[in-house]
């Protein structure tokens, strides 16, 4: 599993010198395109198809099944349909910000996958500050949400943007503090070292994944992640029954696609972070690493969809109280407790 980063193995494969910078730039671009298309494929599968199928299964309905096997060709139909819609620019929008917000939301989430090891050598980069980097990119979307909410010149959008930022701020700290408790175990921010530290076995066949070593942190992280990606019970930024669609009310055509896409990439990025720091990255028996990685991120995706179908929404006051009074205190306690346990054991 401890293999060279993707650009270097690509250079080896092509028989080029991995020490020259132009070769590395070219190979990095090829690797990045590979990672980018892999995640776009996942998102294309999840957005127009899997999400509908899962929600339909939860609510006892039949979803898309007309076009292609299992209705899979709805993905093609929907992308053509949405991209060929007219782009309506509402009156009084704050123009550069209104255009930049969908771009920022979609691309910031994709950036995080640079440091995620996906198994079988699919690991684009491995900087020493890997975990800090991935948290930084994951939280950049908040800026996009505020931009979208403020620039739309719509009261629903404005409220949605405010709610989105209040929620992301409140759950960012528990998320990062819980991530920090994993760093205490691993002693490094480098993603490959965090994954390698989880490769030993705990008891019997159970691997020492941090989800098993520290289940308390795992649960906290899963809840904070639900809030970060804005799914029930924390979906008040878009709350369809209250504020239409929140920050994305005024977006149509390709801009709507980009925001929607960004949300799904974000769910997968959350899943990838969870898989990497709590579920041993791409590790798993029998099957190759990439398959295990996909199983794990789709597992987290399924969890968010389950929560979306089954859990009622919290109110804004409850959201703030759960975040600041519950999650923050618990994550601080988790950090200190982890430090004490590691200190006693080490």
């Amino acid at each position: 599993m401890q293999s060279a980063p993707l650009p270097e193995s690509l250079a080896d494969l092509a028989g080029l010198d991995p020490n020259s910078t132009p070769v590395m730039i070219l190979m990095s671009l090829i690797g990045a395109a590979l990672i980018g298309s892999l995640m776009m494929t996942n998102t294309a599968l999840a957005g127009p198809w899997a999400k509908r199928k899962i929600t339909a299964a939860f609510t006892d309905r039949i979803a898309v099944d007309r076009i292609g096997p299992f209705g899979l060709l709805i993905i093609v139909a929907d992308s053509v349909r949405l991209l060929s819609k007219e782009l309506i620019v509402p009156e009084g929008v704050d123009r550069p910000a209104w255009d930049l917000a969908p771009l920022l939301i979609a691309s910031s989430a994709l950036l995080g996958f640079a440091v995620i090891p996906m198994g079988n050598g699919l690991h684009l980069a491995d900087p020493e500050v890997g975990l800090a980097y991935v948290f930084a990119t994951a939280s950049m979307a908040s800026i996009g949400l505020v931009m979208a909410g403020y620039a739309s010149n719509n009261k629903y959008s404005f409220l949605g943007g405010l709610r989105a930022v209040a929620q992301n701020l409140a759950y960012e700290i528990p998320l990062i503090l819980t991530g920090a408790s994993v760093v205490i175990f691993a002693g490094s921010l480098q993603i490959s070292e965090i994954v390698a530290a989880q490769s030993a076995t705990l008891i019997g066949p159970i691997p020492s994944w941090y989800a098993f070593v520290n289940p308390f942190a795992f649960v906290l992280f899963m809840i904070a992640n639900l809030a970060e990606v804005g799914r029930n019970p924390f979906d008040i930024p878009e709350a369809p029954t209250e504020i239409v669609a929140g920050y994305q009310t005024e977006y149509s055509s390709v801009y709507f696609v980009l925001i929607y896409l960004g949300e799904f990439i974000h769910i997968f990025l959350g899943g990838a972070i969870i898989a990497t720091i709590f579920l041993g990255g791409p590790a798993g028996p029998v099957l190759p690493g990439i398959v295990w990685f996909l199983i794990k991120i789709w597992g987290v995706f399924l969890f968010t969809q389950w929560a979306r179908s089954a859990v009622p929404r919290v109110r804004i006051d409850q959201l703030i109280e759960i975040g600041w009074k519950g999650m923050l205190v618990l994550s601080l306690a988790n950090l200190l407790l982890t430090a004490v346990i590691v200190g006693v054991v080490a």
């Binding site: 991995p18 690797g31 969908p102 980069a125 629903y156 600041w324 590691v342 200190g343």
Partner: protein, 137 residues
């Protein structure tokens, strides 16, 4: 070992290229039927009134952002500590590395308690905020 930031930069290029390609493809495909009326912002079917950027909103959002700033800086200071913690325990002993952090988090906890008691993390509607008709939660 090559510089990992080249690869990250490459992904940044790809991450921007994908949405921009979609925008270009869409601009080639989509129709444009400029028409008065459909550019009005959506306000549940009513004629929109005023600008949304001038509405009064709950001051609580500001309080939450202020509190976030404090705790976000705190996480920046906690991260280096977590990285060296394991090595430091074997080097200088657990109390010398843990105690300063306990004091640091203790100070923050007192701060959070103060904010808690003063209602900064409780979502209250002030009477002034709910009095006017042009105010929103």
């Amino acid at each position: 070992m090559s510089n990992p930031w080249i690869a990250i930069g490459a992904l940044a290029v790809v991450a921007l290229a994908i949405p921009i390609t979609m925008m270009v493809v869409s601009s080639l495909l989509r129709p444009s039927v400029p028409e008065q009326g459909k550019t009005a912002t959506y306000e549940s079917g009513e004629v929109p009134t005023g600008s949304s950027q001038k509405i009064k909103f709950n001051i609580q959002y500001y309080m939450v952002a202020l509190l976030f700033l404090v705790f976000d800086i705190e996480t920046v200071l906690i991260f280096p500590w977590t990285v060296i913690y394991r090595d430091a325990v074997s080097a200088v002993g657990m109390t010398r590395i843990l105690l300063p952090m306990v004091v640091f988090i203790g100070i923050l906890a007192v701060g959070l308690g103060w904010a808690w008691r003063n209602g900064a993390v409780r979502w209250v509607r002030s009477p002034r905020a709910t009095k006017g008709a042009d105010t929103y939660e």
